[in-house]
């Protein structure tokens, strides 16, 4: 309409452009529908939400597939979109890769027999989902978001060689998640003295933290039910600073907020690892590998905090390489 003021031919050009765009859009939608029937072995990636974080997984996943010279087509949709067209999507899918808890919950009971590879999953949550799902026959595996205990202890050993006693806060009801057991075994193997304190209720946070920090050299924060709480994290960090004893955590956000160190697998790390796993799978049968931790991880150090605590810590990269060496993985 604004063209009318300028001149007639401008208007015509505009209409021509619009018509052209409509035509292109139509053609694209037709072709995408057409390609739908073609590849029965295609992967459908279901994201828990349309946030940049999940997109990060996808970008890295696809890039790694390209680097591995794998010509596999992957379709990306959100969990909400999947729920609306479950049957249709499942029909065209060879393998489901779900990214996050919500996506996994949406797909696991309606995959129509297709295998589900659940990524970016907290181990504890995956165990619950696996146990409580309705269709027990669906093939289900996972790439965990958390880190194996051995890796966390390895980080402590390389970064803080003088540490002997590791304190860990565990949930009150000692969830059958096997956390305590794996911590005890891991610590004993690595030669550490493990100090466990139970978090009974919200009110008792500060006294429990005081006990842990007065007995241990360092606190290992673990992502367990009832322990992932911003207020709790704040209290842990405040107490840590009061006692001048560091916190080893499980995310970069935690380190930014005041923990000294963390080893974690970012969505990109998980995307990369998942793609490598896909590379090793048969594209016809989609035989899922066993549920595993990612061997791609990042180590972060809060340099300012290290300085203010008078600790000389090596760089994140140095620590990661030492840890990769120990796990027998190729260093970068």
């Amino acid at each position: 309409m604004f063209c009318f003021v300028i001149n007639r031919s401008c208007e015509r050009i505009l209409y021509a452009l619009l018509a052209g765009l409509l035509l292109i859009a139509l053609m694209l939608s037709l072709t995408s529908e057409a390609s739908g029937d073609a590849d029965k072995q295609k992967i459908t990636i279901v994201l828990s939400d349309d946030l940049p974080v999940y997109q990060g997984f996808v970008t890295e996943f696809r890039q790694t597939l390209v680097n591995e010279h794998l010509d596999i087509f992957s379709n990306v949709i959100t969990a909400d979109a999947y729920v609306r067209r479950q049957k249709e999507i499942s029909k065209d899918t060879g393998l489901f890769i779900t990214v996050g808890v919500k996506a996994t919950l949406s797909v696991v009971d309606s995959a129509y027999g297709k295998p589900v590879y659940s990524t970016l999953m907290p181990k504890v949550t995956f165990s619950k989902i696996k146990k409580n799902r309705r269709k027990k026959s669906t093939r289900l595996s996972a790439v965990f978001l958390d880190q194996p205990v051995a890796r966390q202890l390895s980080l402590i050993r390389y970064a803080l060689p003088q540490v002997r006693r590791i304190g860990v806060l565990v949930p009150a009801d000692g969830e059958g998640s096997g956390l305590e057991k794996s911590l005890e075994i891991g610590a004993r193997k690595a030669g550490y003295n493990l100090i466990l304190e139970r978090l009974a209720s919200e009110k008792s946070t500060l006294p429990v933290l005081d006990r842990i920090f007065s007995k241990a050299d360092v606190l290992l924060a673990v992502p367990e039910t009832g322990l992932i709480d911003r207020k709790l994290a704040s209290n842990i960090l405040l107490t840590s600073y009061r006692y001048r004893k560091p916190v080893v955590a499980y995310s970069q956000a935690y380190v930014r907020a005041g923990a000294l160190l963390a080893v974690y697998s970012s969505p990109r790390d998980i995307g990369h690892y998942t793609a490598l796993k896909i590379a090793g799978m048969s594209k016809r049968s989609w035989q899922l590998p066993k549920a595993s931790y990612s061997d791609q991880f990042t180590v972060t150090v809060n340099r300012w905090l290290a300085r203010s605590m008078g600790l000389k810590i090596k760089s994140g990269r140095w620590l990661k390489n030492r840890m990769l060496n120990e796990e027998g993985i190729k260093t970068e």
Binding site: V53, L105, I228, R307
Partner: protein, 666 residues
């Protein structure tokens, strides 16, 4: 939110910002008792950090320089003022051995009053003269956790008087100074300092008490000795998981040398100081990272300086002693309320109000026995709009009124755009005012010849404010580029323009023919504008934990139009100011640091012409662990290069040496 001065800075960080939303919104359906990836990866509010700002530097609406403990120690500074040389563009000077000024860009006389200075949120500039009496602050350098210096005006966040800059001194929490600490200092200029500090930690209550003593003789051949015993304390009480109450109390006393040899009107003498403060603040954290806070403080400062001269010959031919009385008492009560909260995932707000009561008594300076009052009320709102993960828009406004000025509405806007998480551009506009202080608006001081009669106002005043002053105004525009080029290297480049008008200045109108004193000083607002334009750079390089290099540089151009007063603003702004601080940790607890400072030639408004000066400070320290305690011995050489004059021809600074011995044990 991503931070530039952090050890790990990856694109991943930017991507994480999406999770701020996730934490606030509901947990995905069917997963109430299950941990989700969003919780594991989600943001945790900053608790302990290098900046402890509510936001990272790349998202701050103003240009901020942070000086941390390590930098303060490495600079070897004995006086707080010397530390500010590390801020781009800040000019520091001692106009007397015991008196100093700090001024962004210059434009300063001995009552440097164009800057806001806060200690833990308590404003310490004086209601009578407007500047900060740095020598009378009961604050030990060892108790400072960090200093945030804002370059340029920032009324919205820091309130009244945040004219050319703001200095926000943040002390260590009581928990950070646990244990016993003793420090002794000896050195040039008769320096003898002692510090004793004890900090205790409990389940809910942490406390600290610092006792200090400082003594020195100031510049050679100048009467500017200082003796200052002081105490400072802090109490941090964690009332509950959400509520904390902090209390600080401090006091300082002692004497400051004044006067000059062989000056009948200004004889050598001691001024007695007595100052104290009480400060309490309460914070309550709500859900969703919101916070309420309420703060009250009281500052009291008393200075006694009065003397009778020897008989002086005064017109019309009488020889009589004169009596001078510079006694001044000033007091401030301030109450402030603030509320921070997130309105939605895109918008955060901070708003608040404060009321302040300033009272000054100075019989001979104000020619009245009654107390002069200057009260202030202020209301502010600041909003932060996250338009996109890489685009932040901040807008705020402050409404302020004082007893001697009308209401002022001062805005500030800023846009921060992250081209990539490592490269940010910020564009900002800010207005601020500097309110006239009581000495400018209400001074009336007369010579007093007690022998000539009981009524001292025999003679005409030598200071008389005609009053009717309006606040100085500044409008600042700036554009900055902040870059985090790698884990170890970052810099911040800024171009600015300050448009200043209504500067309040001393003038000397021609005195009437029969006037005894020969001159009367008055204060008036300038009728011309002063424009400052320039560029600033600060860069930091730290390849590993044992090495740090920080550089600052400022280039300033001033256009002061028709400078009709006696002052020369152009000469008071040095064209270039630069600093460099390098720190290296050797093995075995040995640390070496070098500070190099350059200041272009300048003439302070009421000082003498000074050549460009180059200072080199060197510090070496050795830390020794003795079981559960730690001893640190350090030696400092200040001004290892040529001697230079500071502020006035009479202040000659040569190389000074200090030795510190400190012992800390739990």
């Amino acid at each position: 939110m991503c931070r530039s001065d952090h050890s790990t800075w990856t694109a991943f960080c930017r991507v994480m910002t999406g999770f701020i939303v996730a934490i606030v919104l509901a947990v995905p359906a069917g997963a109430q008792e299950m941990i989700t990836e969003q919780e594991m990866l989600g943001e945790i509010p900053l608790v302990i950090s290098a900046s402890r700002l509510a936001q990272p530097i790349t998202e701050a609406p103003a240009a901020i320089t942070i000086i941390d403990q390590e930098m303060i120690e490495a600079s070897g500074a004995r006086n707080l003022v010397d530390v500010f040389r590390l801020v781009p563009g800040f000019v520091t000077a001692n106009w007397d051995g015991n008196r100093a000024v700090v001024a962004p860009y210059g434009l300063v006389d001995i009552y440097a009053r164009r800057m806001q200075v806060l200690i833990d949120g308590r404003s310490v500039y004086m209601p009578d003269f407007g500047g900060v009496t740095w020598s009378d602050l009961p604050l030990a350098l060892d108790d400072i956790e960090r200093i945030e210096a804002v370059r340029g005006p920032n009324a919205v966040t820091y309130g009244a008087n945040s004219f050319l800059g703001v200095i926000n001194i943040i002390t260590k929490t009581a928990a950070e100074t646990r244990g016993t600490y003793v420090k002794l200092t000896t050195g040039s200029q008769g320096t003898r300092d002692a510090l004793l500090r004890y900090g205790g930690v409990g389940v809910n209550l942490d406390y600290r008490l610092t006792l200090g003593y400082q003594k020195d003789t100031g510049f050679d051949d100048v009467v500017d000795n200082r003796r200052a015993p002081f105490f400072d304390s802090r109490l941090d009480y964690r009332f509950s998981d959400r509520t904390t109450i902090n209390v600080k109390l401090g006091a300082i006393g002692g004497e400051l040398g004044e006067g000059e040899d062989a000056n009948l009107l200004d004889p050598p003498r001691d001024e007695t100081i007595s100052s104290n403060y009480q400060h309490i603040w309460w914070t309550y954290k709500t859900d969703n990272a919101g916070e309420f806070s309420l703060q009250y403080y009281h500052n009291y400062h008393d200075s006694r300086d009065s003397f009778t001269t020897d008989p002086i010959l005064i017109p019309p031919g009488i020889s009589t002693p004169l009596f001078f009385n510079y006694d001044v008492t000033s007091e401030r009560h301030d109450l402030e309320f603030q509320h921070k909260f997130g309105v939605s995932r895109f918008l955060r707000l901070v708003w608040g109000a404060s009321g302040r009561q300033d009272k000054v008594t100075g019989e001979k300076l104000f020619n009245t026995e009654s107390r002069l009052e200057n009260n202030l009320s202020r209301f502010f709102v600041n909003s932060e709009w996250r338009l996109h993960s890489s685009l932040l828009f901040q807008a705020g406004v402050m409404l302020e009124r004082t007893t001697i000025t009308d209401s002022e509405l001062l805005p500030r806007v800023a846009i921060n755009y992250h081209i990539t998480p490592q490269h940010t551009i910020r564009v900002g506009y800010s207005e601020a005012t500097r309110n006239p202080v009581l000495i400018e608006e209400k001074a009336e001081a007369r010579l007093c010849a007690p022998d000539l009669g009981p009524n001292c106002s025999v003679y005409d005043p030598y200071l008389r404010s005609s009053g009717g002053l309006v606040p100085e105004k500044i409008a600042a525009k700036d554009i900055s580029y902040l870059a985090q080029l790698s884990d170890s290297f970052s810099f911040d480049l800024r171009l600015f323009q300050y448009d200043i008008e209504k500067l309040v200045d001393w003038v000397e109108p021609s005195p009437p023919a029969d006037d005894v004193t020969g001159s009367v000083l008055d204060w008036v607002n300038a009728d011309y504008r002063v424009v400052l334009e320039g560029a600033e750079l600060q860069a930091s390089y730290s390849p590993d934990i044992n090495n740090r290099l920080m550089v600052s540089y400022a280039y300033t151009d001033i256009d002061s139009g028709k400078d009709t007063t006696k002052r020369n603003y152009t000469a008071s702004v040095p064209q270039q100011v630069a600093s460099l601080l390098a720190i290296h940790n050797f093995q075995d607890g040995l640390t070496g640091s070098i500070g190099y400072y350059f200041l272009d030639q300048l003439k302070h408004l009421d000082g003498d012409f000074l050549d460009e000066r180059r200072q080199l400070d060197i510090r070496i320290s050795r830390q020794i662990s003795l079981g559960s305690s730690e001893a640190t011995i350090s030696a400092v050489a200040q001004n290892a290069l040529d001697d230079y004059k500071e502020y006035r021809d009479s202040n000659l600074v040569s190389t000074r040496y200090y030795i510190n011995f400190a012992l800390s044990f739990k």
